[in-house]
């Protein structure tokens, strides 16, 4: 009866573009200058949109809002890797991907202003609306991938969530099923180090989050989430593998939530300014800019154009959002079921034309 090793596992960490803006030539895929400019412009746009949302909130023109600052590379990278026919299941700190998928900016403002019309995903865009309960959307992505497999649709499903979600049962049940049935789904964890005030180390004693995939029988990989090249490449490969029938992948994108949890939070209560400052040097936009400067892709004129175009798009979205007519109160009854039940009809009638004395 021998004692022997029955399993050996390894977790890779990928970084193509480092903090100094240097790309590893052995890992760097061929990106055209146009593509690199698109990476930059998309990240700048996401940051400006995010800043505008925070400003609107401070002015009382938007409700509670969850900033993505610092996570632009994860989101733009994943957004670019998705194809239109793929499905995506977002969490609540995901506006970067939403915009890459084509969700009108006005929808995002509407949702964060408490107007459910923001959740109406346009026809043809295969995405779920924002999921507020943490991690509970993970099994939905697994189910959609299962549906695709049953229908033999060659698509992939992406689901995004944070480090906190990896402590939830929904995450584990979803991952387990994806592994058992080899489903075309990519789990992208944006490990931004904080779940409100609880640090990553309090979520799990695991050395990495990526290794959780090992237990479910499929690969987990860790990527520098502030490296747009690494994010685009890793997500693209995982989605392609899923579309080919190669099964699920778990990607842990190591990044940082530069902002408070939401506008209702004050992160200085639980984390040090030094820690935040340390991550400022790892900024995803900054490092791409340095790389572009070094490779002569960046020019002041390009920067100006990007800033102008992005700001115009943001301001247009604000204008569209604020021009939305008010919601008809009766509408709250209209989507509970396909056909309203008798009590809904009665309640709607009573709301719109209250019975007279």
């Amino acid at each position: 009866m021998p004692k022997k090793s029955v399993g050996q596992f390894n977790i890779d960490f990928i970084q193509i573009l480092n903090e100094a803006g240097e790309a590893d030539p052995s890992l760097l895929p061929h990106f055209t200058e146009k593509e690199i400019r698109q990476f930059y412009e998309s990240m700048v746009f996401a940051r400006l949109f995010d800043e505008k949302a925070l400003n609107l909130q401070r002015q009382g023109r938007l409700g509670t809002y969850a900033s993505i600052r610092g996570q632009e590379a994860v989101q733009i990278g994943a957004g670019l890797a998705l194809q239109a026919s793929d499905w995506w299941f977002p969490a609540f700190r995901d506006i970067g991907i939403s915009m890459m998928r084509g969700l009108p900016g006005k929808n995002l403002f509407l949702y964060w202003a408490g107007d459910e019309r923001g959740n109406a995903i346009p026809p043809g865009q295969n995405d779920f609306p924002i999921a507020i309960p943490v991690g509970t959307h993970i099994p939905h992505a697994v189910g959609a991938a299962w549906g695709a497999k049953i229908k033999k649709d060659p698509i992939a499903v992406l689901v995004t969530f944070g480090d906190g979600a990896t402590s939830k049962g929904d995450f584990h049940e979803g991952m387990n099923m994806a592994g058992v049935f080899s489903l075309p789904v990519v789990f992208l964890c944006q490990n931004n180090q904080w779940a409100i005030s609880v640090p990553r180390a309090r979520q799990t004693a695991s050395q990495t989050l990526a290794q959780k995939a090992i237990a479910y029988g499929f690969p987990g990989i860790q990527v520098d989430g502030n490296d747009i090249f690494g994010m685009v490449q890793t997500t693209k490969e995982a989605l392609e593998k899923a579309r080919r029938g190669g099964g699920p992948t778990f990607i842990e994108a190591v990044t940082y939530r530069m902002s408070d949890h939401t506008t209702a939070d004050d992160a200085s209560r639980y984390r040090s300014p030094e820690e935040v400052k340390g991550w400022e040097g790892k900024d995803p936009i900054l490092r791409l800019k340095i790389y572009m400067e070094k490779t002569k892709i960046w020019t002041p004129a390009f920067e100006e154009e990007v800033a102008r175009n992005s700001m115009n798009r943001v301001l247009n979205a604000v204008t569209e959002y604020e021009a939305m007519p008010p919601v008809d109160p009766g509408e709250i009854f209209d989507y509970v079921f396909e056909k309203p039940t008798p009590d809904l009809i009665e309640q709607k009638q009573n709301l719109l034309s209250p019975p007279k004395e």
């Binding site: 995903i121 049940e173 989507y335």
Partner: protein, 324 residues
């Protein structure tokens, strides 16, 4: 036609619906090779294959959560939860997602999901196998709740539940899975939201669902000897509730009793009594009574009969109401 039990009728409805619509997928614990712990899915795996009859891991949240994703993707999953008492870990999926998907996406997505699950006491089962927690679901906007009490109704209602574009919780009274046999009354789906007059009577209205319909019928037979004609309404669908049939019966009899296995407090008996007093107060000759489970967890089998409504308990309530 051959006479079928309630569980056989469910099996028939499942196979008919899977035959009709290739998008119908049956999933759950032990539903494949084993044919379900009550054999409700017997033979489906052989007939429809492993892609449509899926033995899942032991994972209630995963089953319901994945079924929601499948439903949104365009399939019609019929998920089995082995006993209602095990559904609680999936409550967040049901309440926060399945039931809200249409509303929160303004109709962009909907959730044609059926959750089948045996429920109720009287089957001498271990702990957590005899729950009757329909009120949680009735209380949840966006989900329909269906409970058959006869084999024919089980078949027709399950067909409607599967064809319904919104989530349906289909509660199967395990106690009468095999105790009644009947010939199927036609192939047609039975519309959701329509109650059935299980017995006509002019003196008092008994309102029940699931296994309690039969308990109420026994009580109605017992008081018949004293010349009392009790009407028994089998609600069949709890949500949306057929209040029309309840009210027209009360208008006729002037007296009503609601019978349910679930605990008295916060149970549907209170809801039905409220509907009756809101809409038919002046027809009432007596307060609407409730014969229900106690506000204790349902006891293990040795004490179960103490807890459950019985014909005797209902008969006592009938006399109390008539004497009022």
């Amino acid at each position: 036609m051959e006479k079928l039990t309630l569980v056989q009728a469910i099996n028939l409805a499942l196979s008919e619906e899977m035959e009709r619509d290739p998008g119908v997928v049956v999933m759950g614990e032990d539903v494949g090779k084993d044919g379900g712990v009550f054999r409700a899915t017997l033979g489906l795996l052989d007939r429809f294959g492993g892609e449509r009859v899926i033995d899942t891991p032991l994972s209630e949240t995963g089953i319901i959560g994945a079924a929601i994703g499948m439903a949104a993707y365009g399939l019609t999953p019929v998920a089995e939860i082995q006993f209602l008492g095990f559904i609680y870990s999936a409550m967040e999926q049901i309440i926060s997602h399945a039931a809200r998907l249409r509303t929160r996406t303004k109709g962009r997505y909907h959730c044609p999901l059926v959750i089948r699950t045996p429920y109720g006491g009287g089957i001498h089962a271990p702990e957590h196998h005899s729950e009757s927690s329909e009120a949680y679901f009735y209380h949840t906007p966006g989900i329909k709740v269906v409970v058959p009490s006869t084999p024919s109704d089980a078949r027709g209602l399950l067909k409607s539940a599967i064809r319904d574009p919104d989530p349906v919780l289909f509660l199967e009274p395990a106690r009468i899975y095999r105790s009644i046999k009947e010939e199927m009354k036609g192939d047609d789906p039975i519309p959701l939201g329509e109650a059935r007059i299980a017995r006509s009577g002019k003196d008092i209205t008994l309102i029940a669902w699931g296994a309690m319909v039969h308990t109420a019928l026994k009580s109605a037979e017992a008081v018949k000897k004293e010349g009392i004609e009790a009407e028994v309404i089998d609600l069949r669908t709890l949500y949306p509730m057929d209040t029309g049939k309840i009210l027209s019966s009360i208008e006729k009899t002037g007296r009503g009793i609601v019978v349910h296995e679930a605990p008295l407090k916060g149970g549907l008996g209170g809801e039905i009594a409220a509907i009756i007093q809101e809409k038919a107060l002046l027809y009432l000759e007596a307060p609407v009574l409730r014969v229900a489970g106690f506000n204790t967890p349902i006891p293990l089998p040795k004490m179960e009969q103490v807890y459950l409504p019985s014909p005797e308990k209902i008969t006592a309530a009938i006399y109390q109401t008539l004497r009022y």
